[in-house]
C-alpha cells in the first residue's frame, strides 16, 4: 500500500523530532556518566558538568513546549479568544526577551505608545508565543551589539494593524524565504542549530497568525537583516469582548 504524502510528512516530522530530542538526551547521559563513574573528583568540575547537563535539560523542555504548542494549535477549538490589548502583549514579550538580548548586547527600539489602545480578538498565550518567537529569532540571528526595531502601523480603512519586528542580523537568502515557515526549516545561514531548538518557531508563528485571521510577511537581505510583519484584524468597537 502506498503511503499518502501526509503520512510520509508525519513520519519525517516524527523522525526529525526523535533525532533532535535524542541528541541532548544522549549528551546528558554522557555528561552524567562521567560523574557517576568517578572520572572527575574536583567539585568545581563536577558543578560545571552538572551545569552543562542542566542546560541540555532546559533545551529539551523548550523542545517539548514547542511540540505541545504545535499539537495544541492543531486543535483550534481549544483556542479560547478574548479581547487582547496588543500593548500588553509587547510589554510582556519585551520583558521576557530582554535578558536574552542583553547577553548579546542587543538593544530594542520602540515607541512607548507601541500598539497602545489597539485590541484584537485572540488568545493571549498564543499571541505572546508568536511575538516571543519572532523576537527570539531576531536575537539569535542578530549580530552582537545589534538592534531590534518594533513598530505598529494601523490601516484604518482595512481596520488592521501591522506589527513589524526588524533585526540587524544575518538575513535569509532569497531561495530560503519560501521554506522558512515550514516545520523544521531554517535558513541557510541559520542552519547550524545554535540553540538546540527544533526549528518549529516560525511555522508556529505562521499558524498562530493565520488562526487569528492575519497574515505574516518576511523580507530579508543577507548580511543586513530581516523584517517580519504581522498583520492582524483589529477588534471592531461594537464586537468588543466577543468570544470566538
Amino acid at each position: 500500500m502506498n503511503k499518502t504524502k501526509s503520512t510520509k510528512d508525519d513520519e519525517r516530522v516524527l523522525a526529525k523530532m526523535a533525532h533532535d530530542i535524542k541528541a541532548p538526551l544522549s549528551a546528558i547521559v554522557s555528561i552524567l556518566g562521567v560523574i557517576q563513574k568517578g572520572y572527575v573528583n574536583d567539585i568545581d568540575k563536577v558543578k560545571e558538568l552538572v551545569s552543562r547537563a542542566s542546560q541540555k535539560a532546559v533545551t529539551l523542555i523548550s523542545m517539548v513546549d514547542d511540540i505541545l504548542d504545535y499539537t495544541l494549535l492543531a486543535n483550534k477549538s481549544m483556542m479560547r479568544r478574548e479581547k487582547i490589548h496588543l500593548f500588553d502583549v509587547f510589554l510582556d514579550s519585551i520583558s521576557t526577551m530582554k535578558p536574552y538580548a542583553d547577553r548579546r548586547n542587543i538593544t530594542f527600539a520602540y515607541s512607548q505608545e507601541l500598539c497602545k489602545e489597539k485590541y484584537v480578538n485572540g488568545n493571549y498565550t498564543f499571541l505572546l508565543r508568536a511575538i516571543n518567537n519572532i523576537i527570539m529569532n531576531a536575537i539569535k540571528y542578530n549580530k552582537e551589539n545589534g538592534n531590534i526595531t518594533i513598530d505598529c502601523q494601523e490601516n484604518t480603512k482595512k481596520n488592521t494593524i501591522t506589527i513589524t519586528i526588524k533585526d540587524t542580523g544575518i538575513g535569509v537568502p532569497e531561495e530560503d524565504l519560501d521554506k522558512i515557515f515550514h516545520v523544521f526549516e531554517r535558513g541557510k545561514y541559520a542552519r547550524k542549530n545554535i540553540d538546540g531548538s527544533l526549528g518549529l518557531g516560525l511555522s508556529l508563528v505562521k499558524q498562530i497568525v493565520e488562526d487569528h485571521y492575519g497574515d505574516i510577511n518576511l523580507t530579508s537581505t543577507v548580511g543586513v537583516g530581516t523584517a517580519v510583519a504581522l498583520t492582524l484584524p483589529l477588534l471592531k468597537e461594537k464586537t468588543k469582548n466577543k468570544e470566538g
Partner: protein, 127 residues
C-alpha cells in the same frame, strides 16, 4: 609517552565530557568541533587515535572524513572509533565484519557511549 587522541564532536558539552574521561586516563586530548579543524589537526599533530562523531552538521560529514583518512597513505594507520546515533534513526546496525569494507573504521559505538566501554575500546586499539 602519552597517546594523543583527536576527538571530533560538534557538541561542546559532549566534547568536554569525553575530554574529562580521556585525560583522567592519561591520554592527551586534541579536540575539533568541525571536520575542517579535524583535518587541520591531522596535518599539524601526530595523532594516535580518532574518536569521531558521525552525526556532524550534515549526516555525511563524519562518514566522508573517515573515508578520506582511510584512503590516505599518511593517515590510514590511525585507528578510528566512530560514535553513531545512526542505527536508531535509520534502523541500520553497523557491523564491523560486514561494513568494514564499506567503511573501514576500527570500531563503531552507539551513543550515548559508556565511559568505561570507551576506555576499554581505546586500550584495545592502542595496545
Amino acid at each position: 609517552m602519552k597517546h594523543k587522541i583527536l576527538v571530533v564532536e560538534d557538541d561542546i558539552d559532549v566534547l568536554e565530557a569525553r575530554r574529562v574521561v580521556l585525560e583522567h586516563n592519561k591520554y592527551e586530548v586534541v579536540t575539533a568541533t568541525t571536520i575542517e579543524v579535524a583535518e587541520q589537526v591531522l596535518e599539524e599533530e601526530k595523532i594516535d587515535l580518532i574518536l569521531l562523531d558521525v552525526m556532524m552538521e550534515k549526516d555525511s560529514d563524519g562518514f566522508n572524513f573517515a573515508q578520506s583518512v582511510k584512503h590516505s597513505e599518511k593517515y590510514k594507520h590511525i585507528p578510528i572509533i566512530m560514535a553513531t546515533a545512526v542505527s536508531q534513526r535509520t534502523k541500520f546496525k553497523f557491523d564491523i565484519d560486514k561494513d568494514g569494507d564499506f567503511l573501514p573504521v576500527e570500531k563503531f559505538m552507539e551513543k550515548p557511549i559508556d565511559p568505561d566501554d570507551l576506555i576499554a575500546a581505546i586500550r584495545g586499539l592502542l595496545k
